[in-house]
């Protein structure tokens, strides 16, 4: 049976059967780029966001303060430019610019990883800044009042809480990255969207190939969002605290069950 004689479902099954390897490689590439770049994007975002959230200290000398101004100006430019232009064009700009101006051939993988990381970093910088500002200033005062330095306060008290607060946004970025790696097809990265284009081009079955590819994208993003939601609930822990006592006499008002890990309940 030739492909023109098949119905919609038969064509989808045919595509899956014939191109399962390509889909798998494409999906794997997409996931690797999305995960690695979200991670590095978060690292860039943390550094940039922290620098931007730091209030100038009146005790610093003039040189240090003006240096901070310059650094902050550069970082603001970075954030605004990378948030304000399409990633597809950034990919073309960096990939072709590197080879034409600096005669550097970045290669598909390094170009893809650099572009998506730097782009994610620009978004994350603002998110981290917001996350730091969202932490109650009382937390900083509490830490400073027992003599903790600015950096200790940041690393032990403020950042852990800020990261918890921005977890939903990190998840959001991961999902956006899974989908947005499709723009890398402009520089020839063989990810999931590139796979779709090759298949649909070879078989002229755009509708069926799009349906299959969309389904794969959805499975990837939905799985990731569920995993992240699970991690968030794990980070929060239970809302109530049960006194962990093994002394059943403490529960004179009627202990119904006792669990070694979670304590007793009534």
């Amino acid at each position: 049976m030739s492909i023109s004689e098949m119905n919609f479902f038969e064509r989808m099954l045919y595509i899956l059967d014939q191109y399962s390897g390509s889909f798998f490689r494409g999906a794997a590439t997409t996931m690797v780029i999305a995960l690695v770049c979200t991670f590095f994007g978060c690292v860039i975002g943390l550094l940039v966001g922290m620098l931007q959230a730091k209030e100038p200290d009146r005790k610093d000398n003039v040189v240090k303060r003006s240096l901070m101004h310059v650094v902050r100006f550069i970082l603001t430019c970075y954030v605004e430019v990378f948030r304000g232009t399409p990633m597809m064009l950034q990919a073309a700009f960096i990939y072709y610019g590197a080879s034409q101006v600096f005669h550097i051939n970045l290669g598909m993988w390094s170009a893809a990883l650099i572009i998506v990381s730097v782009n994610t970093g620009a978004y994350m910088a603002e998110t981290v800044r917001g996350g730091i500002l969202s932490v109650d200033p009382g937390q900083t005062e509490g830490a400073r009042a027992i003599g903790m330095s600015y950096s200790s306060t940041m690393f032990h008290i403020v950042l852990p809480q800020a990261i918890r607060n921005i977890m939903p946004q990190i998840g959001n970025n991961l999902i956006i990255n899974i989908k947005d790696t499709c723009v890398l097809s402009i520089i020839g990265t063989v990810e999931l969207f590139f796979t779709f284009k090759s298949i649909s081009g070879a078989l002229y079955t755009y509708f069926e190939a799009a349906t299959v590819t969309m389904a794969i994208y959805f499975v990837l993003t939905f799985t990731c969002s569920r995993i992240l939601r699970y991690i968030e609930t794990r980070m929060d822990g239970p809302a109530n605290f049960d006194l962990a006592t093994s002394d059943t006499l403490a529960f004179t008002s009627g202990l119904t069950k006792y669990n070694k890990n979670t304590g007793g309940s009534f």
Partner: protein, 245 residues
């Protein structure tokens, strides 16, 4: 007695607003000083100047004779010696009760973990919170949080403890448990400065009372004098409003 803190002609302005106007007083070792006065009279700002959470505009604050306002004393080091308990507790939300009481000891005083834990447990027991070592702050009631906050401050072995309205954010039935801990602490000889609206505490526990009005110390003296025989009309007015309540 040995003077720990001497405040001389302290002034603090926020922009053009002069919040503290020429404040002078001394704190001796073992003193329990209550600072009373209406809201906005500068009580909390005064307290926050003493551990440099606010930067004083002019005047002197001498800590063991050294002026802390001209850089003679390291800010972070001073704060380990002059502890603070806040109205809003400010326990670290990302840590459990035990970690809250250990982080300062390990990070600032460089004690080893075992020693820090022992000290933390000692003070948590003394405020009656030893069973809650694994609880997170959001799982505790206000009174419990404040008792942990006091243990956290004590674990740093401070010389002076500043209390900034420690019971003002608490439900009425929890005020007692925190005041009991503070009374206990006062009886051990800890030097304390307490900004409070609890007149019974000021009268019964402290040995020195400062009444503030509009950024100045209107009257200072023993609780007997301030409560039974106030010299100024404003002090009388203020106290009569509390007693009639």
């Amino acid at each position: 007695m040995e003077k720990i803190i001497e405040v001389e002609h302290l002034v603090k302005t926020f922009g053009t607003n002069e919040v503290l106007k020429d404040i002078s007083f001394d704190v001796e070792k073992g003193d329990v000083t209550s600072i009373i006065g209406a809201s906005g009279s500068g009580k909390s700002t005064l307290l926050r100047c003493l551990n440099m959470l606010e930067e004083a505009t002019s005047g002197k604050i001498l800590y063991h004779g050294k002026n802390i306002l001209n850089g003679e004393v390291n800010e972070d080091k001073l704060r380990t010696k002059v502890g603070m308990v806040f109205q809003s507790f400010n326990l670290f939300n990302n840590m459990n009760v035990l970690e809250n009481c250990m982080i300062g000891q390990v990070n600032v005083l460089k004690r080893n973990k075992a020693e820090a834990k022992e000290k933390a447990m000692h003070y948590l027991s003394s405020v009656g919170m030893a069973q809650y070592v694994n609880a997170k702050p959001r799982q505790l009631s206000g009174g419990q949080k404040q008792r942990v906050a006091i243990a956290r401050a004590l674990a740093m072995d401070p010389e002076v403890l500043l209390f900034d309205e420690p019971t003002s954010a608490l439900d009425p039935e929890m005020v007692g448990e925190v005041l009991d801990v503070m009374k206990e602490l006062a009886s051990t000889g800890m030097t304390m400065l307490v900004v409070t609206h609890e007149m019974a505490f000021a009268r019964d526990v402290s040995n020195n009372v400062i009444y503030m009005y509009d950024g100045r110390i209107e009257e200072e003296g023993s609780p007997e004098k301030i409560f039974n025989n106030p010299g100024k009309e404003r002090t009388q007015d203020f106290l009569s409003r509390f007693i009639n309540k």
